[in-house]
C-alpha cells in the first residue's frame, strides 16, 4: 500500500459520522454608502483612497504625487499613451525596479478595504507585490459590502492566480510597531472612478 492509500484509509477509518454544512447564504452586508465606507476603512489600514471623475484626474494625481522620472508600468489601456504597458512574456524579475504600478481591480470590499485582482488585470502576477508603490482603479459601482458578496461575484473564478490586496505591505514584528512597506509596496492608492 502506498502512502496515499495508507492516509486515505486512516482518514476513512477515523472520520466521524458526517455532519451537514451550515447555510451561509443568509450572511449579507449593508449596501448603503459603500464608497464612503470603503474610503474610511482603507484609511485606517494605512492606504489612501479617493474619488475621481475620470482617467485625466488619475493622470494628474500621479504626476503630482509620484516620481515620474522612475519606471511606471500599467495594464490600463487609457494610460498607455505615456506609460509602459506590462508585458506578460518577459521574465518577472525584470520588474524589480518598478516605482509605481497602476492596475484596474475587478471590485473592492467595503468592510475590509481589499481589492480583488487576478493575473489578467495584473499583467504579471508579481506586479502588485514587487512595485514600490501600488495604485489601483476601481469603479464606484463595483464596491461590495462584505466578503460574502465578494465571493458571490468571483464565483468559481476562471483565473490561474487571484488575490485580495488590502493596503500597503506591512509588519509589526518588531515590538508591535507598525511599519508600512515590509516586502511589498510602501504605499497603496485606490482611485474610485465615478
Amino acid at each position: 500500500m502506498n502512502t496515499r492509500e495508507k492516509i486515505l484509509e486512516a482518514v476513512l477509518k477515523n472520520q466521524p459520522t458526517s455532519t451537514p454544512l451550515p447555510d451561509i447564504d443568509s450572511f449579507k452586508g449593508d449596501n448603503t454608502d459603500l464608497v464612503q465606507k470603503y474610503i474610511d476603512v482603507f484609511k485606517t489600514i494605512g492606504g489612501n483612497a479617493l474619488s475621481v471623475d475620470d482617467i485625466t484626474a488619475v493622470k494628474m494625481f500621479i504626476n503630482q504625487n509620484f516620481d515620474t522620472s522612475k519606471r511606471i508600468v500599467t495594464t490600463v489601456n487609457e494610460l498607455s499613451d505615456n506609460l509602459e504597458l506590462i508585458s506578460d512574456t518577459v521574465d518577472p524579475h525584470t520588474y524589480n525596479d518598478v516605482e509605481l504600478a497602476i492596475i484596474k481591480a475587478h471590485f473592492s470590499v467595503a468592510e475590509n478595504g481589499a481589492v480583488w485582482l487576478t493575473d489578467e488585470v495584473m499583467g504579471q502576477r508579481i506586479i502588485p507585490y514587487i512595485c514600490q508603490h501600488l495604485a489601483v482603479i476601481v469603479n464606484a459601482q463595483n464596491i461590495v459590502p462584505t466578503l460574502h458578496e465578494a465571493y458571490q461575484k468571483i464565483g468559481l473564478g476562471e483565473y490561474s492566480f487571484g488575490g485580495f490586496i488590502g493596503g500597503p505591505s506591512k509588519t509589526a514584528d518588531i515590538e508591535q510597531a507598525l511599519v508600512l512597506g515590509a516586502h511589498g509596496p510602501l504605499s497603496m492608492t485606490v482611485f474610485i472612478m465615478k
Binding site: I7, T19, P92, G157, F161, G184, P185
Partner: protein
Amino acid sequence: MSQTKTHAALAGAFIKDEERVDWHDGALWFIREKRDKASKQIPEWEELREAASQIKSNVISNLHDYLLQFEANLKKNGVIVHWADSAEEHNEIVYSILKAKEINQMVKSKSMLTEECGLNEYLEERGIEVINSDLGEYIQQIDNEPPSHIVLPCIHKRKEEIGELFHEHLGTEKGLSDPTLLTRVARKHLRNVFLTRRGALTGVNFAVAETGEYVVCTNEGNADMGAHLSEVQIASMGLEKLIPQKKHLSVFLRLLARSATGQPITIYSSHYKKPRKGQEMHLILVDAGRTRQMGRVDFRDSLKCIKCGACMNTCPVYRKSGGLSYHNTISGPIGAILAPNLNMKKHADLPYASTLCGSCSNVCPVKINIHEQLYKWRQVIVKEGYAANTKALGMKAMAWTFSSPGKLTTAGKTGRWFLHNLPFVVNNKLNPWYKQRDMPEAPKESFGEWYVKNEEKEDNRQ
C-alpha cells in the same frame, strides 16, 4: 532549545525578568483588545464563529471525499500532488523536488507545518540553504530560536535585541533599534533573496476542495514575492486545511485576521490555482499525526484550528510564560492540546500549563473547546502513566485525603498547625506554590469547626 525541561521549568526562567514579563503580558493583551474591538464591529460575529465551526465539523467528517475531490482538481489545474505520512516523508519529498531541479537555495514563507517537520535543519544537512522570509521568522532564524508565537514569531524580543542581531548578521550600525529602520534593512536584504531563489515554499491557510486552489495569507507580501519569482513553487499543508467550497472562504477570511490581530483582513490573501507559464507547482498533503488525532473522539475538534493565535494572546499562562516555554512549534493553549498527540511523553506537561479559565475557548473563531480538551488530556496523561511523579503522588494523596471526612479534618488541622507554628515547613523553596507568592494566612479554625460552633449558638438562641 532545551528539550528536556518542562514548561514549568522554562517558564520559571522566563519570569525571572519581571519587567520583561510585564511588557510581554501587556503586548499580547493589547492584541487581544484589538481583536475584541474588531469582532464587535461585526454584529453577526457569533453566527460567523458558529458557521465556521460547523463547516470544519463537516470537513473532518467528510475528509476522505474532500481529499479525493481536491486532488482531482489540483491535477486538473496542473499542480503536482504528493502525500506524506510523516514529517520525514514530507522532508524527503521537498528535498527530491529541489534536487531534481538542482536547487540549493530556497526561500520560505511562514509555515508552522514545516517548522513542526524540522524541514530547515533537514535540508541544511543536505546542503540546501533555507531562508525564512517572514520578518519575525527571519529574526528567529538568525537567532537560532524557533518562533515563540504562530502569528508574531518574535513577540518576546525587545527591539534592542533585534538591533544587536542585525548588527551581527546584517552589518547595521551598533545600537540601531528603530523598528522602521531595521525593517528597511531587512527589506533590502530579503529582496535580494527573493530575486535570486529559484525555489520557494509556502504554507497553506485554506485549500478549496471544489476548485483545487489554495489560499495563503500574509501581511508582508513575502509569500507572493517568493512564489511569483520562483521556478519551482512548493506548498505544504496539513490534511485539515481543506474547506469544501469556494464561498466558505468568506466566513474564514472574515474571522481570521480579526481574531489574530484585529485587522479587517490580512493585507494579502492570495489564491493560487495554476502554475505560471514555465513554472512547476507542487503541493504536499501531510498527515503526520492528523489522522490519529481524528480518531481521538475528545480531541478531534482541535483539527478545526485556523492558526490565528487568539488563544495565545488571551491566555494568562501564555502571556506570562512566553511561547518558547511550551517547547513545541505551536505554543499556547492550542499547542497544548495538539502536542500530546504528536508525542505524549514529551508533551505530558503542556496540558497542565493552564488555569482552565476558558478564555481560549471564548475567543476561538472556530469554537474549539480548548480548555475542556486541556482538562481531558490531563486525565489521559495520568491514565497512560505520563504524569510527572510529583503530580501523580500529589493526586494520590489528595484522593486519600478526600476519601473520608475524618481524614480531611485531620489534614486540615495539621496544615493549619504547621502554617501557624512552623511556617517554614510550607513556605520554602521546595514548595512550588510558594514561588513568586506568599502563602495565605491560615484561619484559626476550619469552616466545619466554625459551623458547628455557630450552629450551637443558633440553637441556644431558639
